[in-house]
Structures are given as C-alpha cells and as structure tokens.
C-alpha cells in the first residue's frame, strides 16, 4: 500500500459516498476515473489488487465498495490528533471545522508562548510541558507539527518520545526521525514550485499548443 494508492482509495471512498447520497447504487470504473482524472484501467487494477470485485457490465456496487474500502482502511471511529505549535498555521488548523466530517478530532494544541495557553477552551491549548501527560492519557498517535523551523527537529523528537507515530510536518525542513511516519506539507515550496512552473509555461508557450487542463 503506497501513498499514491492510499490517496486514491480515500478519494474513491469520498466519491462513492457522495454518489450514494445522490441515490446511486452502482458506479463504473470509468466514472471514478473521470472524477480522479486518471485512466479507468488503473481503477480496475487498484480494485483487483485490493480484491474488490465488480460485476461484468454491472460496475461496482456502491454500498459494497464503501464497505470494502472501510475494511481495508481499518475505519474505526474518530481519530484523535494534536497540534504542536499554535502560530498562524497551527491556530488555523485548530479552528478549521472540516476535520469532523472525515472522522478527525483535534483534541489539543501545544505551545511555549504563555500568551497562547488557554486550558479551558473548547480545544484546550496547553504549555508544551504538558504534552507528555496529555498524550499518554489520550493515547494519541498523530500530531501536526507547526512550530518554527529551528524548533522542528527537536520538537518532533519530543513528540515521538511520547508515543507519536505519525507527524504532519508543516515546517520547511526534512525531519530525520525513526519509528515515525512523516507527511510533509510544504506550502512555501509548493508556492515556489507553482511560480516557476508558470514561468516555464510562459517561456515555452510558443512551443506547445495542446495544453492539459490540469497539471498536478
């Protein structure tokens, strides 16, 4: 199960759920492919690999598809997540309402700035010193790291020592860690990449006529 396949699986489920809400009961590989912008063969390959069966000419049963994906993903209730570093990005995430819909609950934030501590808020913000206690009590495995660059490596190691097994890393550094999965969200880098991509496109606009409608 590589990251790309996992991403597709999450998206298949999202689409199937929406179609179910609209009253559909089955979906063809070509529908899912259109929605994701990929080749229908890849959808069938994915499902074949994951042992999700379709009906010849009948497509895939939506209820069955959702059930299978949930099985594969090990869906089991709400996942608790903490936010470490309550700066611009950190507080944006704490206030973001969309996580609930996908079964994610932000249970606490942590910071070292006394002005940011609010232990009695709906989502409490504690001093970093309390992280160990909270993590152990709540058995939290997933943390968002949104501290300044200079602190990132050190704080990541702290989190891992308290039992964190997955870090969503917003700091612009490559974390060197053991026994922990890191997913990077490097906004700066994405923006720089975009800027240069646009520049190249302009530079070469004379050369290429048939541009795609969506460049990942």
């Amino acid at each position: 199960m590589n990251k790309d396949l996992l991403n597709r699986l999450i998206r298949y489920k999202k689409i199937a759920t929406k179609m179910k809400e609209l009253g559909f009961i089955r979906v063809f590989s070509v529908n899912l492919a259109d929605a994701l912008g990929i080749n229908p063969v890849k959808v069938r390959k994915d499902f074949s690999f994951l042992n999700i069966k379709g009906k010849n000419k009948g497509g895939y049963d939506i209820d069955y598809l959702i059930k299978k994906i949930d099985e594969i993903l090990g869906k089991d209730g709400v996942e608790k997540v903490i936010i470490v570093g309550v700066g611009n990005i950190g507080s944006a995430l704490i206030n973001y309402p969309g996580f609930e819909n996908v079964g994610i609950k932000i249970v606490a934030g942590f910071d070292i700035d006394p002005k940011k501590i609010k232990e009695d808020a709906e989502i409490p913000i504690y001093h970093l010193d309390k992280m160990k206690e909270v993590l152990k009590k709540e058995e939290i495995k997933i943390g968002v790291l949104s501290v300044p660059e200079v602190a990132a490596q050190r704080v990541a190691e702290l989190m891992i020592s308290y039992g964190i097994k997955g870090i969503l890393n917003f700091s612009p550094v490559r974390l060197k860690v053991k026994d922990c999965i890191v997913n990077d969200v490097h906004i700066e880098a994405e923006l720089e990449n975009l800027i240069y991509s646009v520049k190249f496109e302009f530079k070469n606009f004379a050369n290429k006529e048939n541009k795609d409608d969506h460049t990942n």
Copy 2:
C-alpha cells in the same frame, strides 16, 4: 522540467545557499544527495540533464551552481501573489512572515465577507469585486485559493478570467480549469493519508523489521 525535478532544483539551491553562507566553496553530489535523502547518481543525472558541469574529483562550485540554477529558474526579483479567501488558512498565509525570504510578496487578500475587508492594512484585504482591478493593475499571475469548497471552482474561474496563470489550491476539490497550472495543498487529505499509513504500519509491524527513518 517535471514537478519533481523542479522541487529538487529549488532544494539544491536552498542547500547551496546555506553552504555558501557557511563559507563552503564547493559541494559534492553525495552531499546534496544526503541532504535531500536521495541517491547521488540522481543529483549528477539532474545536473547533467540541466547542463550543470562539475569537476572530476572537484565537485560543483557553489557560486556557479547557484548562478546556473537561477538562470534555469529565470529568477528575477520578487513575485507578487494574492490570497483569495481570507478564512483560517487564508489569514494564516497573509500573516506568514517566511515568504519574503524566498522572494514572494503577498500583495493583497480578497473576500466577500464585509467584516474581513481592510483596505488600509499593510496587506490590504479587498472585496472580491475589486479583484479584477487589482490584478490588472499589478499584473499578478499567481493566486492562492482558500475559499470554501462550494465556491472553489467558481472563484478559480473568476481568477483565471482576470489573468491568473497559477493557482495554489487549498480547497479539497479537483479544479477543472484551462490555461492555468494548479498545485494542490490538500491538508485534510494529507492528514487522512497519514492516519491510515500509521494504522497500516501498526497492523504490519510484525512483518517488517527494518523500517526507513523517513517516509514520504
């Protein structure tokens, strides 16, 4: 120039710049490879492809390397960017101080909520109605899209109609657009992906002993 290569190029430059600040004058492919967590052959392949020459046994001259990368990237001063949708994420980005260092300037934000409008702020926030005017005047090509999901497609089309050529998309939808490059930053999806990756790792922890120190 694909996206991965572009990303590596940006990182090569960042590392070279830091090494220069530390007083180094040359760098070996293996150094850059270590920093990026890749194979040194790939570094040399990249440089060979981009016509960046090293010295046999002498590595790559840092000043020359930076100059060549700047040439390739078409580095020319500060890039102006707007933020469309000044919610949690949008305002976090407006207040984020790190963009200056990489030559990015946020020049304005746009929203439809009158409470958010602040035309006389350092980084002014205008009503969406003024977007056309500002974009034309400042000749802005790059925009960050951080509006709610339901508005994303419509607002993206609006931006493009006013001359935007690159969108950094924070909304959890696949934008269907023409003549515009879209880079996605899907925080929710990354977090979901992380959660499931950790679950799988646990499920299979008995099977694998030698885990890598960093999983992208």
